[in-house]
């Protein structure tokens, strides 16, 4: 098993006819992901390397039974595309688009939360990879192999870094989930950790957080109450000065909130081991996995 994406994934790609959208969708397909449809208003009836394109998500779902959406449209249209996917009954929505207005994300979050049957990952995230099964997004799959470590991260490259170090020690992954670096991610650490906790294949969970917000603190509390599997954590941005946005819109220490040390303290207080560098994280994980 894996979480979110796998052999049952039937992927519809919003923005399939765009340069980036087609490039990554075809990459995903080559990896084995079942890419069933594209959505581009006005281009219904065309195809991209054999994948049929539809004008709307409703038409795509009706024709192909797509159950997963990947959003690759420009930021000003992305929130609308996510809402459209939800309206069409798509259960899993992975939004890669970076730069969506924060208020749009707020509306999307609050509309989607009324529908318990839908899950959004992202936006501004690298996607979800279940090694050997399906890749939805832009995660370079070559560095990862199937295994029993679940990874959830606010950062893409940092995930690759950690995943690569684990792979070099011989460990693979159940699923890698990039939840994205935006202020209002559709899925939080808690949401994904809950899925890993329930996934029989996942034996250890790595969470890679960063400064800004309180998602890591919330994860710590959830881990204390609900998670029996070992969790290893990393927090990036420990030395970042307050008031500066560190690349991710969400990575900012504002006033007394969002600081890295407080996140580490919160995690360590509930027994989560926190590595000080990505390398340390991999070492701790390996140590635990080797028992």
């Amino acid at each position: 098993m894996s979480i979110l994406v796998g052999e049952d994934t039937r992927l519809a790609v919003a923005g399939l006819t765009g340069r980036e959208g087609s490039y990554h969708a075809m990459n995903n397909r080559r990896y084995g992901t079942n890419v069933v449809a594209g959505i581009t208003p006005g281009k219904g009836g065309q195809d991209v390397e054999g994948v049929p394109v539809f004008n709307t998500f409703r038409q795509a779902v009706a024709a192909t039974d797509a159950n997963t959406a990947m959003i690759f449209v420009p930021p000003r249209f992305a929130a609308d595309s996510i809402l459209e996917a939800e309206d069409a009954g798509v259960a899993t929505i992975v939004a890669i688009t970076e730069g969506i207005p924060a208020h749009d994300e707020l509306i999307v979050f609050n509309v989607l939360k009324r529908n318990p049957g839908v899950r959004l990952v992202g936006p501004n995230c690298p996607g979800v990879l279940s090694p050997g099964k399906a890749n939805v997004g832009i995660i370079p799959a070559a560095f990862f192999k199937p295994g029993n470590v679940g990874v959830v991260s606010r950062s893409g490259t940092l995930t690759y870094q950690i995943g690569n170090e684990l792979a070099q020690s011989g460990f693979g992954n159940s699923t890698i989930v990039g939840i994205g670096g935006d202020p209002v991610p559709g899925s939080s650490f808690v949401d994904i950790i809950a899925l890993f906790q329930a996934d029989p294949e996942t034996e250890l969970i790595v969470m890679s957080g960063e400064i800004g917000g309180s998602a890591e603190e919330e994860a710590a509390q959830y881990i204390a109450e609900q998670v029996s599997k070992p969790v290893v954590a990393y927090i990036a941005g420990l030395t970042a000065p307050p008031g500066k946005t560190m690349g991710h819109a969400g990575a900012i220490v504002s006033g007394s909130s969002g600081g890295g040390q407080a996140k580490i303290d919160a995690l360590e207080a509930v027994g989560v081991r926190v590595g000080r560098t990505p390398t340390q994280v991999a070492q701790i994980a390996v140590e635990i996995l080797r028992g």
Binding site: I138, S155, L158, Q161, P183, S208, M246, T277
Partner: protein, 385 residues
Amino acid sequence: MDLLEYKGKQVLARYDVAQLPGREATTVDAAVAAAEDIGFPLVIKAQVKIGGRGKAGGIKIANTLDEVREHATNILGMDIRGHIVHELWLQLASEIVSEYYAAVVFDRSAKAPLVMLSTQGGMEIEQVAAEHPEALAMLHVDPLVGFHPFHARRLAYEAGVDADVVVPVGDMLATLYEVFVGEDATLVEINPLVITPEREVAALDAKVTLDDNAMFRHPDNATLDDSSAADPQEAMAKKRGLTYVKLDGDIGIFGNGAGLVMSTLDVVAHAGGAPANFLDAGGGAKAEAIAASVEVILGNPNVKAVLFNVFGGITRCDEVARGIIEAYEILKPTVPFVVRLDGTNDVEARKLLADADLPHVYPEATMDGAAARVVALAREGVVAA
């Protein structure tokens, strides 16, 4: 985008938020001219995007044109915690009966706007929250439902505002919420919100942050940007579409992916060094973009060594190596480079660098090792080009 006080007030004025008469000025003469218009007594306020202006001497009362001239001369050019004062705001100094605090902030944890109101205005809200929690009323707004009159009443009565201004203060909150949504703001803060002896409610200060990602919806707000006043490297980076943040140290940092770059800063600090910048070259950067990044990094005269830490996913390491070589040849840097490349096409990249055989470019195999090396090199000092 954080707005200077007076630009925030321009935004509020569009929504008819009551304010005291005022004008901005960028020179001493303009300040004097503004003062003649406004009348006395007036307040001269340094326009910088940082708190603590008053303590730093950036806010002064003037009762005469001579005093205006004197204070304007002193304040313009002042360095307030690293922010140079280029602009002033002059405003009629009204008598004030009460100072309240009102704000709408984007609360990430709750995924909802948070409206706050306190009768303890004029100080930092963190301090109010700590010292007078009973005087701070807070309410999360469901963005689909919006902010309704009863929300305003609830906040006003909970905060304990004077009975006779419950309605105008509530109306002010409703307007601030309107600004928050209408302008795609992530912060709209009035501190203090004042009550005059005539029992009028007015915004004495304004702190407004707009969402850069939503600027396409507000083309007019582009004029509110004052990045011209920003650091030259940050301005250059912005022009080139790079995510660059200037820091206080001497080790230049180049990386791809916000998380990895943040992590690189941490690892360098952990090794005893001080980063000079945050720079995320993003995914899929090409050689010329990489060369441009290097130019931005080296534009900071404090930089004594540069660390390249790249994990190639979409970004191809060979492109990065080519960019480094290109930049090196054009810029002829006088500081050493430490390069750690892993991921897509890393083998080819390492070969490119080895073949180029540039002086003072040191490959490293691991992130931690690269950090230790660059810290050591920065300590050794500048090298010959």
